[in-house]
Subunit: 456 residues, 2 copies
């Protein structure tokens, strides 16, 4: 016997998780499409060179890469993708003439990272990315946040906050405080504010450069931290930033851009309470150059961001000389699902069809097959129990799997052309309904259940 | 610069293919769910031992396996899955107590085989599998064919034929002709009838066993070929088979089982003309023990089967001592798409949203953002051109991408609270419509286009 376990850090997804996961994915696809984004797919396997090109991924990510070889292949030539951004950059460099710009694409797929296995961390997880490429546009910036909002709201994610900032404001602040050369290190430290706290960040910023710190003095640290903590909010925070940094051209541009984005988000119907400006939000990656986003579920901030992104100046510089600015975001589906599960708001289900037809011993299953086909035509999913075992056991199967109703037809019912309709949870049964009212009866019963149901 | 090509045998999927592909996948998911099948997902990476266990895959498939390693991992330990059946067997052995039987699951995902690259053959392709596990049931057999029919019909696949046979009939025939010990070889040869013709199969069957043939004499070959070619059809072919083999218990059981399946398929509304019995259909794999299926698109038989499967006695014997019979099928999505593309029946599209809002120079895009949000609420997808470039160029973008309508609002229209509605294909434009009739106008125009449209 071979042990049927999965490899370390990987996992099977069972129906109770997969059913809501598929539902959420479908709302994401529909939301992306409703904004005119088009799907693309790239292979799970990329050439190693594409993945490890300078700057394609952080050193940490590159250490976690899975190499792929087949018989007769050259070792070290192929690997599994670790995100959907590098493949997008390669894709656009290769297919630019076919797809043209502006190019609005979405991509949903598994990515692989050989991280040390830990609770809630998996070596394969799903990303849902969307980007608008080839334009430097505030409308596209705003639309990115609008889509995060639309997708999460459609997926019934509870109260969440999309936090915005603009790297131009941060760059202006660093310029104003005389810290221009050290921006990468400072921004990376600032990102840890929520995680390691004010004192932790202050210590990191003061640590000498040769010890991996930013080497700031106490005054500089105080100024940058005080600025980063201007407060979360929307318009008022920008007014405050303008007071402090308005004289700096970069910061002024960043502030104006965020005001335009807030104006467009209001027009797009994104409620104010879902938005926050956080002047300390940096999104460490060096390649962001304009707006940046993070999204947290209120009260579940410890899960980190479930939808993040930002604007970049040059997506595909490793693969083409053409400069391609863009803006986009990635929704971490598996992290979101883990959060919803822990928060108890995941509408779990183990059945995809609301109606179970009994397979009554001694009756021709063709009767059930014919009736089920009629209901499916009317858009009502139906399962027929596959074997004519004891009907009580079949009802137990339906109850366990979350079917709502059972249709039961024994030999007497066949002779009289009637059926019994059983509410599986309460065990209430409507007996002797005519075959001719099947669709109406089932639809009516499902509506009753939908509206809070029958008491047992 | 790094060359942005994909590795040999792999490919990118562009929007023109991905849009219909996503649409077809969604109809498959809905069809599976409407029969009560539930989704599961297993990792792309499995332990090598699971994939290469005796009988898990054919020697050919095992030679094509992609090995996976990460830094610190043991070489030879992990590999990419080459189908969804082996992972299903492992899954059910591992999670049997949680999911219980009968277990009706579907799984959709990429599989990987290091085949020699050739036109239309890819090293990564998508399979759509569904199986009913844990029961030996004619209803489940029939349902498998009913779902193939339902899924392909819902995906607008042109006239296709689901060919059925039952291994018990073939086993009975071999028994009757005194060829029991040589069934594997004979069945594998019979499968090639369509490909290499009668003479080719006859030669193979007569070739001595030590030269890889079945070692039959001319009389045996004639009898088996004549039987395999009894003719394609439905009930009549079974009557003929009964005349010849009725005395054999196995064959009689297989014939009775197929008759039950045909009876249930009729009840399920599967039209006769989509079904055929072919007594020569074997589906080489040793593990099939009952009904077998293949599906071809009429006139495009050279593409091979696009949906195949059958009944097996024991799914997971490598991983558990529990005997798990089942029946299932796999739809080869990528082969189907290649066929539809070549047949010219693939409804290609490069846009997911029917309406394009112009981004008129000198007007606040918030107007378009607000209107687009209203239309999306009403279920009408809308894209707003991201930059205020020359409107003619924006219309060119819409025409190229297959948007149907454009909404154009310049400064004069903003002042008067009106808009112009342009039919992108014919360039007809309805001018001066009031903002209050936006939804009705757009819906009306889309209906006009749906019904054959406006003449240019």
């Amino acid at each position: 016997m071979i042990d049927p376990r999965v490899a370390s850090g990987l996992r099977d997804l069972l129906p109770a998780v997969m059913i809501p996961r598929e539902r959420i994915l479908q709302t994401f696809r529909e939301t992306f499409a409703s904004f005119g984004f088009v799907p693309i797919e790239t292979p799970h396997i990329e050439r190693m060179e594409v993945l490890t090109g300078k700057g394609a991924g952080s050193d940490e990510v590159l250490r976690q890469i899975f190499e792929v070889t087949n018989k007769g292949g050259t070792p070290g030539e192929l690997a599994l993708r670790f995100d959907l951004t590098v493949p997008l950059a390669r894709f656009i460099a290769k297919h630019m003439d076919e797809v043209g710009v502006p190019f609005k694409r979405y991509a949903i797929g598994s990515v692989f990272r050989g991280e040390r296995p830990a609770k809630g961390r998996f070596r394969e997880f799903m990303q849902c990315d969307f980007d608008t490429i080839g334009v430097d546009s505030r409308l596209a910036d705003a639309e990115t946040a609008q889509i995060i909002h639309g997708a999460l709201a459609a997926a019934d994610v509870p109260a969440f906050t999309i936090t915005l900032n603009n790297r131009k404001i941060l760059d202006g602040a660093l310029e104003t405080f005389g810290l221009t050369g050290r921006s990468s290190l400072v921004l990376r430290s600032l990102d840890k504010l929520a995680k390691i706290g004010r004192d932790g960040v202050a210590a990191e910023l003061q640590r000498p450069a040769d010890a991996g710190g930013a080497g700031l003095d106490a005054g500089q640290v105080e100024r940058i931290l005080e600025f980063a903590e201007t407060g979360r909010g929307t318009a008022a925070v920008l007014d405050e930033a303008e007071k402090r940094l308005g004289a700096n051209a970069q910061a002024a541009q960043g502030i104006a851009d965020l005001r335009t984005v807030l104006h467009l988000l209001e027009a797009g119907g994104v409620p104010q309470e879902h938005l926050a400006i956080d002047l300390g939000l940096a999104r460490g990656l060096d390649y962001y150059t304009g707006i940046v986003f993070e999204t947290t579920v209120n009260g579940w901030e410890k899960f980190g961001s479930i939808a993040s992104g930002g604007r970049y100046d040059d997506l595909a510089s490793l693969y083409t000389t053409r400069r391609l600015p863009g803006v986009g975001a990635s929704i971490g589906l598996d992290r979101l699902l883990a959060l919803l599960e822990e928060a108890g708001t995941l509408k779990s289900a183990t059945s995809t069809a609301p109606v179970l037809f009994a397979n009554f011993p001694g009756t021709d299953p063709a009767v059930a097959v014919r009736m089920a086909a009629t209901l499916r035509q009317a858009g009502i999913g139906c399962e027929i129990y596959p074997e004519p075992i004891q009907v009580g056991k079949q009802m137990g199967y339906g109850t366990k799997h979350g079917h709502k109703l059972a249709v039961i037809i024994g030999p007497d019912e066949v002779a009289a052309e009637i059926f019994n309709l059983r509410y599986l949870e309460t065990r209430h049964e409507d007996k002797g309904l005519a075959w001719s009212v099947l669709e109406d009866s089932v639809r009516g019963a499902l509506e009753i259940l939908e509206q809070g149901g029958l008491q047992s």
